[in-house]
Every structure is written in structure tokens, then in C-alpha cells.
């Protein structure tokens, strides 16, 4: 789960979900799938509809079949399964570029086409790095370090990249 916005609310929200995930594991003896967590996050956000968590989230993970999924949220819990997304102060800079590079299929198509983008892992990571390097050019709130989390069948891996070294 990646969140942007008010840090105290972000921390509180992530802590809340981590606790709920632990309870789920106790009750169901398995990890939550990404779609399950997606619903939980939406409900948690809407619960505070009239005093929101100032947190703009993107949820990524694996579904029950082991395929990747990405969900994007607003601060009060509206969510959608997408092939890619960005939130936060740099999103206005990043989203158009992603649209250009990844051309998501229209949700109006029948039969419904999968929202998974056909990128290899190395290409995807490179794209993420490019995107943040570009965002940091014009968005003052984008920081000086990037953390990339890669989730696949082998597990979870983290990569870091310095930004703004110029």
C-alpha cells in the first residue's frame, strides 16, 4: 500500500489495516488477497467519510490466482481496479505520461479486456524510475529518494534510488 497526503493519517491508516490483516490471518489461516484488502481499505476510508483520512492511496499486490493487481483510491474510499495509477502531488505530472506509455484498454470494451500492462519487470522498474526523475523536475514536494517495492510470486523486494542529485 502506497499512500500520499498527511503523514499522521497515513501512518494511522496503514497501522489500522495492518492490524485488520493480522486479525484476518488469525481467523482465516491465510494471507489476505489484494482484492480483499482493496475492499477493506475502501470501507475503512468511507467509515471516516465526514472526517476523512487525508490519505491518497494506491494498493498493489497479487490476487488469489497469483496475478498482479493495482487499485487506486481517493481520500474517502472510491476505488477502481486499474492497470496503473499515481496519486499525490506529482500525479498530475505522472499520470499523463503513464497514459501515453501504457495505453490502458477502455473499460467500455466487451468482452472486458484485462487491465494488466504487458511490461517485463525490468522495463516496469525503469519506467517507474524515469517517471519519478521527471516528476522531481517540476514538483517541489517530490522528495530526494525513491523506494520501489516489487511484488511477485517469489516474494517482495525493495529497491532505492536517489533523486535530485543535480
Amino acid at each position: 500500500m502506497a499512500s500520499s497526503g498527511f503523514q499522521a493519517d497515513v501512518k494511522a491508516l496503514q497501522k489500522h489495516l495492518a492490524a485488520r490483516h493480522l486479525i484476518y490471518q488469525h481467523q482465516h489461516n491465510k494471507q489476505m488477497s489484494c482484492p480483499a484488502m482493496a475492499q477493506l481499505l475502501s470501507n475503512t476510508l468511507y467509515y471516516k467519510r465526514f472526517f476523512p483520512y487525508y490519505s491518497f492511496n494506491v494498493l498493489g499486490g497479487l490476487d488469489n490466482e497469483g496475478k498482479g493487481c493495482v487499485f487506486t483510491y481517493d481520500a474517502v474510499g472510491s476505488y477502481e481496479k486499474v492497470g496503473y495509477s499515481s496519486q499525490g502531488s506529482g500525479s498530475t505530472l505522472i499520470m499523463p505520461f503513464l497514459d501515453n506509455q501504457l495505453k490502458s484498454p477502455s473499460p467500455l470494451l466487451l468482452p472486458a479486456q484485462d487491465a494488466v500492462t504487458p511490461l517485463a519487470e525490468a522495463e516496469a522498474i525503469d519506467l517507474v524510475k524515469t517517471v519519478f526523475a521527471s516528476a522531481s523536475e517540476r514538483d517541489i514536494y517530490t522528495g530526494d529518494k525513491l523506494e520501489i517495492v516489487v511484488i511477485n510470486a517469489d516474494g517482495i523486494r525493495r529497491e532505492y534510488m536517489d533523486l535530485r542529485k543535480d
Binding site: 498527511f6 503523514q7 499522521a8 493519517d9 501512518k11 494511522a12 472526517f51
Partner: protein, 245 residues
């Protein structure tokens, strides 16, 4: 039937009557706290001035206090709220001791407790107007964290509150490294406090430095920093200035 007099709910913001029930602005304030991790534990520095608006009202304010066996708390902001936090922590440590089970709350736990308190008060629109620094060592593991009045919290190798964020952290970022000796740590803190003394109008030249290690807490006697005011650039500041004002 309910015969109790109607009372506005806790977080009701309507009307001046309910404003007297919550903090709107601070009255007596204290300025920056600066802290860093060093070889044996945590070093923390804070001056001793208590301001009442622009008046320097109190000159011997101690704002670093040991908490339990493993932690040291430093605070900036409203003094009365800091005193209330100390009361909360007294109760927390008391209950922890009364279990009498050989366990004790470490700095991580105390920091987490404080984060919850500050965040929940912020959510009720009745904040404790403080920025807190919580440092300590437990079982050899050093911990240094900070919480603000709105609940922003994180841990790091060096932290500062208030003006310290702007003036001290750049110095710390450049000069801090792992396994600082006690003397080097004090030197860096004094450098930070000197810059704050020159540039923070609410700073006073009377400070304490506190140390917490596995062995315990030591808070130094109050002392002053040497300052230098003879920089030639300030001797005749308007010489060479162009303009009408």
C-alpha cells in the same frame, strides 16, 4: 427519560462557549529540542527559556525528563501541555511497574503511546501543543523518535523540533555519522544550539544537555555557550548599503 442538562459534544466547534474547552493557541512556550544518536545512546539538548508571548518569563525551565528506565523525553511548545503529558506518562509507567513482571516499557513503546495520544487529541480538535522528542536505549538498541502536535511521527538518527528543523537539521545531516563519541556528539549539539541562539529570538543562552545510555539518564547542570559578536561584517552594517531605507 433523560433529564441531564444538554451538553455540547466534546469535539463540537460551534460557538465561543465550547472554545474554552479546547486549546486554541499556546501561552507559555519553549523553543527547539535537538537530539542525536551516538555510540552509547542518545544525546539531547534544550535551552531553559520559557516565553510568554514575546516576554522571557521563565529562565530555568527543565524540559527534558527521564521516563521509566529506558527513555528520555524532551518537549517544545506549551509548557502546561508538557506537564500534562508527564502526568499521563507517570500513570503509564506506574501501571507498567505494578505488573511487577520484570518487563518495562522501552523507548519505542513510549514513543508509540505518545503518538497515539497526540494524534487522538488532534482528531478531537483539542491538541496538546507540543513537539516531542523521545530517545532511549533498551537492550543495546538505540531509539530516537519525534511526534508533533498534529501526530506527525517518525524515528531517525537525529531529530529536532521547531526552529531546530530549519537551523539544526542541515548541520546534523552534514556532520552526523554512526558511532559518534560522546565528545563529538556534544560538539555537534553545541554547534546547533549556538546557531539557534544567534537566530531564534526565543532562544536563551542557558542550556542543558542530557544523555541516555543503557546505564541510565544524566542531565547536565545548566551552562552557557560562548558566543562571538565581533564579526566585522556586522560592525558597520550599513556601510556600502545602497538605498533609501
Amino acid at each position: 427519560m433523560n433529564f441531564t442538562a444538554s451538553k455540547q459534544p466534546e469535539s463540537c466547534l460551534l460557538g465561543p462557549e465550547s472554545d474554552s474547552q479546547r486549546t486554541l493557541y499556546p501561552y507559555v512556550t519553549v523553543t527547539s529540542v535537538v537530539a542525536l544518536k551516538y555510540k552509547d545512546g542518545i544525546l539531547m539538548a534544550a535551552d531553559m527559556g520559557g516565553s510568554y508571548g514575546s516576554t522571557l518569563r521563565y529562565k530555568s525551565v527543565e524540559r527534558m525528563k527521564p521516563i521509566g528506565k529506558h527513555s528520555l523525553l524532551g518537549a517544545s511548545g506549551e509548557i502546561s501541555d508538557f506537564q500534562e503529558i508527564l502526568k499521563y506518562l507517570d500513570e503509564l509507567i506506574l501501571y507498567d511497574n505494578m505488573w511487577d513482571d520484570g518487563n518495562s516499557l522501552g523507548p519505542k513503546e513510549v514513543h508509540n503511546y505518545l503518538t497515539r495520544v497526540m494524534y487522538n487529541r488532534r482528531n478531537k480538535f483539542n491538541p496538546l501543543w507540543n513537539s516531542l522528542v523521545l530517545g532511549g536505549v533498551k537492550k543495546g538498541e538505540k531509539y530516537l523518535g519525534t511526534v508533533s502536535m498534529i501526530g506527525v511521527n517518525f524515528e531517525d538518527n537525529h531529530v529536532a523540533t521547531g526552529f531546530g528543523n530549519h537551523l539544526a537539521r542541515p548541520i546534523l545531516r552534514q556532520e552526523w555519522h554512526e558511532n559518534l563519541s560522546f565528545e563529538d556528539g556534544v560538539k555537534i549539539l553545541e554547534k546547533c544550539m549556538r546557531v539557534l541562539l544567534y537566530r531564534d529570538r526565543s532562544a536563551v543562552n542557558k542550556l542543558q544537555i542530557a544523555k541516555i545510555t543503557e546505564e541510565g539518564v544524566t542531565i547536565s547542570q545548566p551552562y552557557s555557550l560562548k558566543t562571538y559578536w565581533e564579526f566585522s561584517a556586522f560592525e558597520n552594517p550599513t556601510q556600502g548599503a545602497v538605498g533609501s531605507w
